[in-house]
Symmetry: C2
Subunit: 494 residues, 2 copies
């Protein structure tokens, strides 16, 4: 633990201006740096994070009440994520480099000029930290890592739930940047709602990343969209993450599914954006009864009193709905709430889906019995955009139509696994139609997350010495490129 | 010319509802069709367009006053564009297919599940047609072609400037769809502002494409963003397209550049979104004098009286600005306005850039003299987002800093060519920061335009028979894929 007090006072207007000005200067040099140089710096930041893991985790435990193993795992994940973006930079495919040579016979009806296009840093970015991932979605988490790797300076609005940790992480990151010979102003943390709003409205900021609640995210999104020069706002807002259990699956392994569900919805005290919030089980399978009689595990303390209050309020609203009842409740403690299962009828849900399908952030979920599998399709159609949708099914289960509907609704579909625990990989998709995310074509987890903070620039008839390296004939970093429409894997020409 | 009257009455609320309902049904089947089948249909639509070129062009001449060769060229371009998207579908790289095999040793700290991700149709799309490209940015133009190829049904709001042509094109397209065995409701045209707004607010519509003015585009963008479930709004709104002539270039070929500039800004009566609106020339080079004394060509009739009124109004506003004067004016005719060159000082421009740098749609442009090339960098910094920025320079011209600034401002940078005439290619970029476009990461021309109307979906631990073909182990259409982070070119496995 640090011995000197950590300054988490609200950032003043004057300091905010200094931060923006310094970030803009840092951005200019960083966005022009080579991908290889940026990769090396990103790796050094990952190293520094791991070297400081003890002090970071101690402070995080104090501020978030999350257990030590979880937090150590999260630091590991966060460092891994940075290094994975380093790999992405070294590979160069993310640049989507394209070269069309001049072609007088181009069949469009007019000669084709020499055109070369690749993706460039979008401009300084503001990132709003999440409450529930003090490392992985905070100061140097996925949004910052992808924006930084893409070549952008990042201003991070700290989450008040782990303000001191945010400042300490900032110090670790800035020291690592400086030690790597790079401008530390590439990453700066600001505190307080006023500074967070000022930055979003500033014309020097060109994109935003956010992870949090629907109302909070929507308010910021509206600010971004309302600017004289609107900018992309990449928000990950909320999701119910429904799970559909087919009759065959319930018959084959109903007990195992019920056990997996309880584990998943109570994991991390239900404070995951991918927490499964609704389980649909066949009537007569015994699954509802089994979940009514299960002993729900004791959960840990919630992140902070404000989030616990919100949880209790949301739970009270849901259980107060006519036709909704508590199916099962675990034991509360002096510091932690009880895990709770609610239930209602499919008919009740179909009559007013929005009220029941609202995300309840915390250890609560619905169990809903259905009579016929065709009702699952009907129910699936009622959902808003989701981060995930899960099938617990057997290979012979007739789920084609259900899958077709869920593809329209969710960013990630799971088969006989659970949505919590989002792997950072090349093929991961953490996003979905609104309100899961504000930009349905984007992901905030996985290597494709870098695309959010890039924009294409084409160069027509340009001389070699003024082109970015990936568009030059000699291709010094061996970036993969689309040349006259044909994909050419990272060769060097000439 | 058709002999029966063509119905272009405003679409009623009841018809709008029918259109949306039918488009949603058509979308479901089309988005599930194979890329190969979609490619074949898109090719048939291109064929039908070319087969009907005579009647289409005759009607377009009547409604838009554009000359026959230009319109025939535009039909050719539009058919070419459709076939190019057919190629994109057959190639399959646009799907961005990614496969991560399960990996227990994945260094994130937790086992990696089997994850497979590709891009899917985003949902039914509304497209707002442009006034100035009755084919290439209208009923079956670039927005529709890319949205349709991506697997979406499209509702097109006709531009009132070529309403009858829009209806006739719709008939050609729908007949071709039906003849290809596909649901004709994939493309439907609606008329009138009320229907255009209703469609944008409807929850069944999942994205929008627009080409037009800044006020019109912004109003629609605000509607899209203000929905309970906001959707991506891809608008191409306005651009000044500045041209910077270095001292060396002016010395080497000032006359030639002046001639090229006049040709470019008057082409198509200045009714291109890439019309160069501002030329910066070195004082003492004689270029300003040359342009003052040049004979400006007679231009053609404008698209319609409303656009001519707007042009005259904008020109009046610009020439009424203190410090702005008319440098040269061509001859007007009974039907066509005069081409006009304005001038002002760099100092005047720097004092209030916004008023002078506003797009003036039509045959008018500024010529501005500078004293020192460092002023070009200063001036470039004042510009809002642009579709293009052009350098007329010599290889030895010290333009590095200017290029660095222009990369931040524009989607396409040109070297010693002119921005009008946007080639449809793999590497084309037609977009830029706001207000050039509302989504700076997107393009509305070129093969990358298809990405606007797709969204990613990941499948975790899914059985083969429920996966899209590009994610199955057997990869029947030989799509290129990223497998465990390595790009594998279109091979078939097994």
């Amino acid at each position: 633990m640090t011995t000197t007090p950590i300054d988490t006072q609200e950032t003043t207007a004057a300091t905010t201006e200094e931060v923006l000005s310094a970030a803009t200067v840092a951005h200019a040099a960083w966005s022009a740096a080579s991908t290889q140089d940026r990769a090396n710096v990103v790796d050094r930041v990952a190293d520094a994070l791991e070297e400081s893991v003890d002090s970071l985790v101690a402070l995080a435990m104090d501020e978030t009440h999350l257990p030590e193993p979880r937090l150590r795992g999260e630091v590991k994940r966060t460092a891994f994520q940075l290094r994975l973006f380093g790999e992405v930079l070294r590979d160069g495919a993310y640049l989507d480099a394209r070269i069309d040579h001049a072609d007088a016979a181009w069949p469009m009806g007019a000669p084709r000029p020499d055109l070369r296009r690749s993706l460039r840093a979008i401009g300084p970015v503001v990132v709003y930290s999440a409450s529930n991932f003090p490392f992985a979605f905070s100061v140097i988490g996925g949004d910052t890592a992808s924006a930084l790797a893409a070549g952008n300076a990042v201003v991070v609005k700290a989450h008040e739930g782990h303000a001191r940790l945010s400042r300490l992480t900032e110090t670790v990151v800035r020291d690592a940047l400086a030690a790597a010979g790079t401008d530390p102003n590439l990453v700066t943390v600001i505190f307080g709602r006023a500074a967070g709003t000022t930055v979003l409205q500033d014309s020097r900021i060109k994109a935003a990343g956010f992870t949090g609640s629907i109302p909070g995210g929507r308010a910021l999104m509206d600010i971004a969209n309302g600017r004289p020069d609107p900018i992309p706002f990449y928000g990950e807002l909320g999701s119910n993450n429904p799970v559909f259990v087919t009759q065959a699956a319930a018959a084959a392994r109903g007990e195992e599914i019920a056990k997996g569900f309880v584990e998943s919805f109570t994991m991390g005290t239900g404070q995951f954006c991918t927490k499964p919030g609704m389980l649909f089980v066949p009537r007569g399978s015994g699954m509802l009864e089994s979940l009514r009689n299960a002993t729900l595990p004791a959960v840990g303390q919630m992140l902070n009193p404000r989030i616990e209050d919100s949880f209790k309020h949301a739970l009270g609203t849901l259980s107060g709905i006519d036709g909704v009842e508590v199916l099962n409740a675990g034991g509360a403690s002096a510091t932690a709430p009880a895990a709770v299962l609610l239930t209602t009828s499919v008919e009740r849900l179909l009559a007013d889906p929005k009220s029941v399908e609202e995300e309840c952030f915390g250890p609560a979920a619905f169990v809903v019995e259905y009579d016929d599998e065709s009702q699952l399709v009907e129910v699936a159609r009622t959902f808003e955009g989701q981060l995930t949708a899960t099938l617990q099914a057997e290979v012979e289960s007739p789920v084609q139509e259900l899958v077709a509907v869920l593809i329209e609704k969710a960013g990630r579909l799971l088969w006989n696994q659970w949505p919590t625990g989002v792997s950072v990989t090349y093929a991961q998709q953490h996003g979905g139609p609104y309100p899961a995310t504000t930009v349905p074509g984007s992901t905030s987890v996985g290597t494709a997350a870098i695309a959010r903070f890039l924009r294409p620039v084409a160069f027509q008839n340009f001389p070699q010495h003024l082109l970015p390296s990936e568009l030059r004939d000699d291709n010094p970093d061996a970036a993969p490129r689309l040349i006259n429409g044909e994909l050419v894997n990272g060769e060097r020409i000439g």
